[in-house]
Structure formats: C-alpha cells, structure tokens
C-alpha cells in the first residue's frame, strides 16, 4: 500500500493517497490553480493517481478534497497547519 504523499507550496499543501484513487480525473480538471496532473505511476489497482506538478500554485482551497469521490486527496491552507 503506497504511502500518502504531501506536497507543500508556500500557501497550500496537498496530500494524495495514491492507493485510494480511482483515476477519475475530477481533481485535476477542477483544481482552480492547475496544480495537478495525472502521474505516470500506477497504483495497486492500476490507476494513475494525480501528482502535484505546480505545488507553488496551491492555495489550500481543498476543492480537490471536496470533489474527490474516493477521499484520496485533500488540500490544506498552510496558515491552519501552523
């Protein structure tokens, strides 16, 4: 079972649980800052999970988290983490 991956930008942090992902692509399409795209790796079910390709753009809005039907990704506003 692959580890959760956290990617931090200056304003927001996105956490991805690759093995929960079913490759629907909704987070990638609806991220307002274009942070995500499909990775080339496969998870244990054969899907391509997303990866944060532009972490500096992440605003921590958590739209990815609200949309994700599989609870595989969420975003956090870094002010709250501190």
């Amino acid at each position: 079972m692959a580890e959760a991956k956290e990617t931090k930008g200056p304003r927001g942090m996105v956490t991805i649980n690759p093995d929960m992902c079913k490759g629907c692509g909704i987070c990638i399409r609806f991220c307002p800052a274009g942070v995500l795209e499909f990775s080339d790796e496969f998870n244990s079910k054969g899907y391509h999970p997303p990866r944060a390709v532009r972490p500096e753009a992440c605003t921590g809005c958590d739209l990815c988290g609200i949309y994700c039907p599989d609870f595989a990704i969420f975003g956090i506003l870094l002010k709250t983490v501190a």
């Binding site: 079972m1 959760a4 956490t15 649980n17 093995d19 929960m20 079913k22 490759g23 629907c24 692509g25 909704i26 399409r29 609806f30 899907y47 739209l63 988290g65 609200i66 949309y67 994700c68 039907p69 599989d70 609870f71 595989a72 969420f74 956090i76």
Partner: protein, 283 residues
Amino acid sequence: MVNNNPVSDLLRTDRMPHIWCSGCGLGTTVNCFVRAVAGCGLPPDQITVVSGIGCTGRVAGYLKLDSFHTTHGRPIPFATGLKLANPRLKVVVYSGDGDLFAIGGNHFIHAARRNMDMTVICVNNFTYGMTGGQVTPTTPTGAIASTAPYGNTEDPFNLPYLADSAGAVYVARWTTFHVRQATKAMKEAIQKKGFSFVELVSPCPTLYGRRNRMGDGLDMMEGYKENSTIRNGADTRDVGMDISGKIVCGKFVDRERPSFLEQYNTRLAARLGPSYKNYEGVL
C-alpha cells in the same frame, strides 16, 4: 490510509476503499455531507443517518455516525419512528431516486405532508445503479435504461415540485459539480426544523452515463457545469428535467410551517388542558 484526511473523523476508514465506481458522484456528496455535519453546530453523536437500498443506500455504512441501512423504499418511516422516539436526534435520510420515489414514494409524500422533522437527501442519478441501471421515476423520457432498451416511454417526476406540493418546508437542488452550494444546502436542511429535501444530481458513469453516451464521470460533471443554471427561488413547477440535460439548480423553497411534533403538542395541549404534558420523547 485516509486517516490524515480532516474529514476522516466522520468516515469509517476501516471500510475504505468504498464500492462505488470511478467517477461516481456519491463520494462527492459524502464529502459535502460530512463538511455540512462538521459545520452545522450540532454534536455528531446526535446526528443519525438512515438509508435505503441501492448505491446511495451504502452511504450509511461509510459514515461514522449512528447509521441504519434499512429496507428498500422504507428509510423514511424508519426515520419517523426513530425521530418520534427521541426528538433530540437529528435524523437524516440519505437515499436514491428509485428508493425514495418509486417504492418509497408514498412514504415520502406522507412525511412531507406531516412536516416530520427530518432531512431527506436524494442522490438522483436517474437510475437504479446497484442492480444494473434500470429505469426509475426520474429517468428522463427517451433515455436508455436496461429495462427501457428502446428509450424510456414515461415522463419523470419533477422532484422539487413533488416535495414542494407535498408540503416540504425546504427544497433545494444542486449537482455534484456545485460542491460549495450543496454543502451549504445540506447544512441549512439539517438545521431547518421540519421536512427538508435536497436533491443532488450525480453521475452514474457506469450505467446511466454509458448507456446514454454521456462519457465518463468527469464528462458528466462537465455537462452539469455547462448545462446548469442557478435560479434561487424559482417556481418548482418550472424546474423539471428532460433528456436535453438542462438542469435548474437553487434553493427553491424555504418556508415556515409547524412540524409534526409542534402541531401534535399544541393541539393536544389545547384539547386536554393543563393535565397534558408535552411529548418530548419516550425517555
């Protein structure tokens, strides 16, 4: 696995991953729901979820609240008994279009008529997903389903209109694209006293979407974005949906009417006088 997800407190993470398909909107509705629960100001121990049978019915099993997975079509009368035994509970019925409006239709209209204090969340994917994509009372005319292979020959219900005319005091419709509004609507519906109804249009890419050539879950969400208009306060008579895919979203009804228990207690007190003690639950 998902334990570090901030909403995982309200999810049965020991049962993840869930059974829903890739691109199914149910998980999105659950995301909205748990955020609505977290933000509604009520202790989660007091919130109980009752579901029926179907893909949406499985929601009850994934929420870490007191939850009941009941029989097909009957979450509403079960919820009625639960609420009346303990009116301090906040009871949410979470079920699908077929469960609530075909087999469960009679129970829906009576609970609305009584203004039973509960929230009914209907995930409308226009199909019976769990059993392979049969036609339901909300399937648009002309749409293909496994039991309507030449296209549905019937006209569907307009759910907000049905809820409104049966007496619901809160009626809203959103899609799984409108996550912020859906979350807010669920929160308002939970907080509202009386019979509150929220319809959430959601993709079933595996069955309804595939048979009607609507693409995958993401394509269907794009479709909701393209084809929906927001008209808060619209007359519910005008918000029916058809095969064109146009969807009217919004909060349509938000009115006041005494709930079942309020009417019950008021009338009995008037009739029986000071000897009558208001009913507040069996315990």
